[in-house]
Symmetry: C2
Subunit: 195 residues, 2 copies
DNA sequence: ATACGATCTTAACCTATGTGAACGAAAAGC
DNA sequence: GCTTTTCGTTCACATAGGTTAAGATCGTAT
């Protein structure tokens, strides 16, 4: 059942898990079936869970002072999501996370995460790599946001995730690109004309 | 000599290091005295070192296709810097790092880092926290860059680092804020008028 | 002290994106 | 099936920041 998790971990650490290791891990990942538009992590409400997206889609976002939504990342199949700050500190989260389609997640509680790190060194290694990669890619995203305009960022996004426009409402894609929906609409119009 | 490192680690893990632990660690941190404007990590040239800024200042940056510099982060006293991607993977770095003042750094080689993580669990814990914090703050920065204009970002920056304008050339502050030096100059002019 | 290069300022003009509003289309509720 | 939101498009106009270029300052080397 948690086979996607197994594959995901094995690819990242570039090693196989033994069946014994995987069985232990499996027990700590609780399946969670959600409908579309369910917000399961809310700014301010402690969430000591780490989630694996088995199928479906989510987005992690903040709401600014003007009430505007800014998407920090999308979570598609095979992504690990949640509010790491709340997960580790036990303080209320900084981010919100919501499903965008009906989704199957696996949730791991912080207490079980600690056990997993202690008992399965490969899992600890996996997690270190996960966080490192996330950190690096967010630094690169900061730089890209400064050096590329919205059109280029949009093209890169749909090149990397061709299915995204079909799955995710356009106003959320805009919020990920850091522009308004009308601007994304205009960009798409310009791109259509160019062809 | 490496006392700042000791304090830095102890604060982050919220525990004391024993003298024995600290002595071991000390041996793995090699002091490095650099002049201003020395580039010690260069995009493309493998750098398997992690650096602690004991005194001085550095900036981590990328150069885009147009040859423009984008500062990803400044490293002041007490900051940990370097190209984590190269450090862990052994591949060439994604970022460049350069001193902005004459600086005293401590460098830790990757091989020693591995030993430190194995032999001193508190160090491994420290490093996990360091990377997690970095990841979170970069995600927040992405969101802030979208929700605030350059003037607000500038005000926040100098509020958090009042000494920065005296230490760092303005064109680099601009590159950190994601704007051109002329624009920062204009923003400062507007702020002066407002008062 | 002088001279040169690097940095900062200012200003006029340009462009990408924001704003507000109207409209149509698609989706959701009844 | 009809109605009501929600979402996407388009347009006219506003604005933040980019571009270019000219001077003014500052720093450093000679």
């Amino acid at each position: 059942m948690q086979n996607n998790i197994r594959k995901n971990i094995e690819v990242k650490i570039n090693q196989k898990l033994t069946d014994a290791e995987f069985e232990k891990l499996s027990a700590w990942f609780v399946p969670l079936q959600l409908e579309s538009k369910e917000q399961f992590v809310t700014e301010g409400k402690v969430s000591r869970n780490l989630y694996f997206v088995d199928s479906g889609a989510t987005h992690t976002f903040i709401v600014d002072k003007k009430g505007e939504v800014h998407t920090v990342q999308f979570g598609l199949e095979g992504y690990w999501i949640g509010d790491m700050y709340s997960f580790f500190s036990g303080n209320p989260p900084i981010f919100n996370v919501e499903t965008l389609e009906s989704s199957t997640l696996f949730a791991m509680q912080h207490a079980d995460f600690e056990k997993a790190c202690e008992q399965i060194p490969k899992f600890e290694m996996f997690f270190r790599i996960l966080v490192q990669n996330g950190y690096l890619s967010s630094l690169q995203r900061i730089a890209k946001n400064f050096s590329e305009d919205a059109e280029q960022r949009y093209l890169t996004l749909i090149k990397n995730h061709p299915d995204l426009p079909q799955r995710i409402p356009q106003y959320l894609v805009a919020s990920y690109l850091g522009i308004k929906p009308q601007s994304l609409s205009r960009i798409r119009q310009n791109l259509a004309k160019k062809k």
